[in-house]
């Protein structure tokens, strides 16, 4: 290990042998889980996928009646939830290859596409490869500040960062677009390292995704709502929804007020304005669902690496890094969020960001199961295990974003080695840890 790194790093106290031991222990957890994958795991992902699709259908159906306030709220909530599930627990994890072992072409990283603005191809490169390989290495991991923010005091300040609380707000609302543009690697384009043909390909990809989202959420389904309401209104001879006065008849010259035409216009008068309102309110509902999803994913993603507890690394520190050191960097470069099982599903199990970074290809459901083992390793080797409640993590992330908008700033104090706390349920955890320890060769720690 690099001398420089030893001085300040949270693993300076470990000997090379210990790091080698650690590597084996981490490898073994992966192996144990992979040997055990089977029907139970498949059933889980299949049921999440089916729940997500049913929610999406429920949302779309409820929004056919988007003129009713209750229906609008319920439909938007269903759709927003479906979109969150689709992006987080399904899309992100499938594209990591977590479910490739099933050999099922319908749930496979090579074929999956998701309902967001960045193409699967670009995202797999920038996220799976760049971010997960070079996690928290300044200047290499582009997810550190997403090239527009200063989130580590080691990044040099520039006046443009003064506005970063504002960028952040915009990014929150438009997160999926932010990610899409980020995938393009603006930095490389600026340095003219990226061939224009690639840039063109990216733009084509993003505009394809944009078109799909516009057609579906902002034209297609609003139109379906409008047609449905229009049809109901016609069938009920205008009694379904009381039209507000927007009489088309008045627009016509007097000569047009003959009988058939007049009746037609009468009907249009009753139907068209209502259909138009249905179109607009469904469109608004879909936009709201996208917004909900964006704000939520932004919150979860930012809590993964930017809370105070996490460590960042310089490129020199990570030169010639061994596999064990890679594990260690993943361990201290990520931070967990504590929460209920439902919270973990809704966050794509990224509340287990630490476990996810150690094992990006492991089915997400297993993170909760291996967390005690990871903690146990941390305890035994005196390593930090970063975690905190959602509000706390989110708070420290945004405090950093505000503080580092201005020059200066010091690294916040980091947690010490992990210690089991009083309120961590001892029975289940203890037995899990001791069972695990029993299987491990005696360690020198």
């Amino acid at each position: 290990m690099n001398k420089n790194m030893q001085k300040k790093s949270p693993f300076a106290h470990l000997t090379e042998e210990q790091i080698l031991e650690l590597e084996k222990e981490f490898d073994r957890i992966h192996e144990e889980v992979y040997n055990d994958l089977g029907e139970r795991d498949r059933r889980y992902i299949k049921s999440v996928i089916s729940a997500q699709r049913q929610l999406a259908v429920a949302g779309r159906v409820l929004l056919l009646a988007s003129l009713s306030r209750t229906s609008w709220i319920a439909g938007t909530a269903c759709l927003g939830t479906a979109k969150i599930l689709e992006n987080m627990e399904i899309g992100h994890n499938v594209m990591h290859g977590q479910w490739d072992w099933m050999n099922d072409p319908d749930i496979h990283s090579s074929t999956w596409d998701w309902d967001t603005a960045s193409t699967a191809h670009a995202w797999k490169h920038s996220h799976n490869y760049i971010h997960h390989t070079y996690t928290n290495i300044l200047g290499v991991d582009k997810d550190l500040g997403y090239e527009i923010m200063r989130i580590d005091p080691k990044q040099t300040w520039h006046p443009r960062y003064l506005l970063q609380p504002l960028y952040n707000l915009a990014l929150m609302a438009l997160f999926e677009w932010g990610v899409a543009v980020h995938d393009m690697d603006i930095d490389a384009i600026r340095r003219r390292e990226k061939p224009l043909s690639d840039v063109w390909e990216d733009l084509k990809g993003i505009s394809g995704k944009a078109r799909a989202q516009i057609i579906k959420d902002y034209v297609g389904w609003p139109l379906v709502s409008a047609l449905a309401v229009g049809a109901a209104q016609t069938a009920s001879q205008g009694r379904m929804v009381k039209p507000r006065s927007e009489p088309i008849r008045q627009l016509l010259p007097g000569s047009a007020k003959r009988r058939t035409l007049s009746r037609l216009i009468g009907a249009a008068d009753a139907v068209l304005p209502v259909a138009k309102r249905a179109f607009v309110s469904t469109l608004a509902a879909n936009a709201t669902a996208n917004l909900i999803r964006n704000v939520w994913t932004h919150a979860i993603i930012f809590c993964g690496h930017f809370p105070d507890q996490t460590y960042t690394f310089t490129q020199e520190e990570t030169e010639n890094e061994s596999r064990g050191e890679w594990y260690l960097r993943q361990l201290v470069g990520a931070a967990n969020i504590e929460g209920t099982p439902l919270f973990h599903v809704m966050s794509g199990n990224l509340g287990y960001q630490v476990e996810h970074h150690l094992y990006p290809d492991m089915p997400s459901t297993r993170y909760a199961e291996i967390a005690p083992k990871v903690k146990e390793i941390c305890e035994r080797y005196e390593l930090p295990y970063n975690t905190g409640r959602f509000g706390h993590q989110w708070g420290t992330v945004h405090r950093t974003i505000f503080r580092l908008a201005f020059p200066g700033g010091k690294p916040r104090s980091k947690p010490g080695p992990y210690k089991r706390t009083e309120d961590e349920k001892p029975p289940a955890r203890l037995s899990e840890a001791s069972r695990y320890r029993a299987r491990m060769p005696a360690s020198s720690a």
Partner: protein, 365 residues
């Protein structure tokens, strides 16, 4: 990429209707939602529902399947890839179709024999239940009945090698064309004979059908020397041979020595991997997309070489039938592990599961 079933024959109106609304569902397809109601309704791939399972001798079963969409039909003697879910994973294997190509009940069937050390056949023989949904792949195979039908035919089979032949016989029966047929079938034990009753029944009904059943537990193995005794006019017959590799090889040689190689039909159903190919040169395998170079000993499939080097290689069947594992050959020569043949030129798509490197090669994978 994981292997997928064959594209089904779907009514054009249905296809067009699905296409028309697909933008409302992107990035999914309407199929992804229809599938929630009934997994057979997806038009992405052909699937089937297992209807019944019947014992076929003491070690094999016949699995009858109702396909979700119109069954395109097969030529008697062909095989199909079947995808089944075992403990959360899809496994693919090729099996001969044993059903009549024009089945009256619409069911297709295949008849796996158990290989206890295997994964798929024990599942099919012991565990699969009616109602299970399976994936159906392409229909393949060149071991089929010729058109027009030859006047006189001779079938030589052993063990589960009878399966493609049963489909041929059923088709002949269906067409009332069982005129002059000799079949020599060997099985190890009497209770292991697959389709014993079907063969009996044909024997009873058609005077031109002659059945020689050999139980190798007692009788000697059927070899080329006995051909003249069992079937003196074999030279006038069109022969169909299906069974273990050595058996097929010996009959092939025999027919060739007699200048009759056009008269024998056969299929190497299960490719022999690593068998014949011994002693190749080997070389470096360069996987260009993954930027990995690995040493290959000339006996290991490129697929395994890549996997051992830590690359996520695409594969499906791993025995050379599904074409999931293909990559483009960018340079060098490869050796087919089944035939030992050396070949390949730049730009060929090659199957990594049944080919090995012959000297240094580069593949776009």
């Amino acid at each position: 990429m994981a292997e997928r079933g064959a594209e089904p024959e779907v009514h054009p109106v249905r296809r067009r209707a699905l296409r028309a609304v697909r933008h409302l569902f992107s990035p999914l397809l309407p199929d992804d939602y229809l599938e929630l109601i009934n997994p057979l309704w997806t038009t992405k791939e052909l699937r089937g529902r297992v209807e019944k399972i019947e014992w076929q001798g003491s070690q094999a079963v016949t699995v009858s399947i109702m396909p979700g969409f119109n069954w395109p039909g097969h030529k008697p003697g062909q095989y199909i890839r079947l995808g089944v879910l075992i403990n959360g994973r899809f496994h693919w294997r090729a099996y001969s179709l044993t059903s009549d190509p024009e089945p009256e009940d619409g069911l297709i069937s295949l008849s796996p024999k158990v290989v206890e050390s295997g994964t798929v056949s024990p599942y099919l023989v012991h565990r699969i239940t009616p109602g299970t949904i399976v994936r159906l792949g392409e229909i393949e195979g060149v071991f089929t009945l010729p058109d027009p039908l030859p006047e006189k035919m001779l079938f030589i089979s052993a063990g589960s090698g009878i399966t493609p032949i049963i489909s041929m016989l059923r088709s002949l029966d269906h067409r009332q064309e069982v005129n002059d047929v000799v079949i020599v079938h060997s099985a190890h034990k009497a209770d292991e004979v697959m389709f014993g009753d079907v063969l009996k029944d044909l024997d009873d009904r058609y005077p031109g059908f002659r059945l020689h059943l050999r139980i190798t537990e007692h009788d000697s193995l059927f070899t080329v020397d006995q051909l003249d005794d069992v079937c003196p006019d074999w030279r006038e017959r069109e022969a169909f041979c299906s069974g273990p590799g050595e058996m097929t090889d010996s009959f092939l040689d025999h027919f060739e020595e007699n200048g009759l190689s056009d008269h024998i039909h056969y299929e190497r159903f299960q490719p022999v991997i690593g068998g014949q190919g011994k002693g190749g040169a080997g070389g470096k395998v360069h996987l260009t997309h993954s930027k990995v170079t690995a040493e290959c000993d000339g006996d290991t499939p490129i697929l395994e070489v890549g996997e051992e080097a830590g690359v996520k290689m695409p594969y499906g069947c791993r025995i050379g039938v599904c074409h999931t594992c293909v990559g483009t050959l960018l340079s060098g020569q490869i050796r087919d592990l089944r035939s030992g043949e050396v070949g390949g030129s730049k730009g060929d798509t090659i199957r990594t599961c049944v080919n090995t490197a012959e000297g240094d090669i580069a593949i776009g994978l």
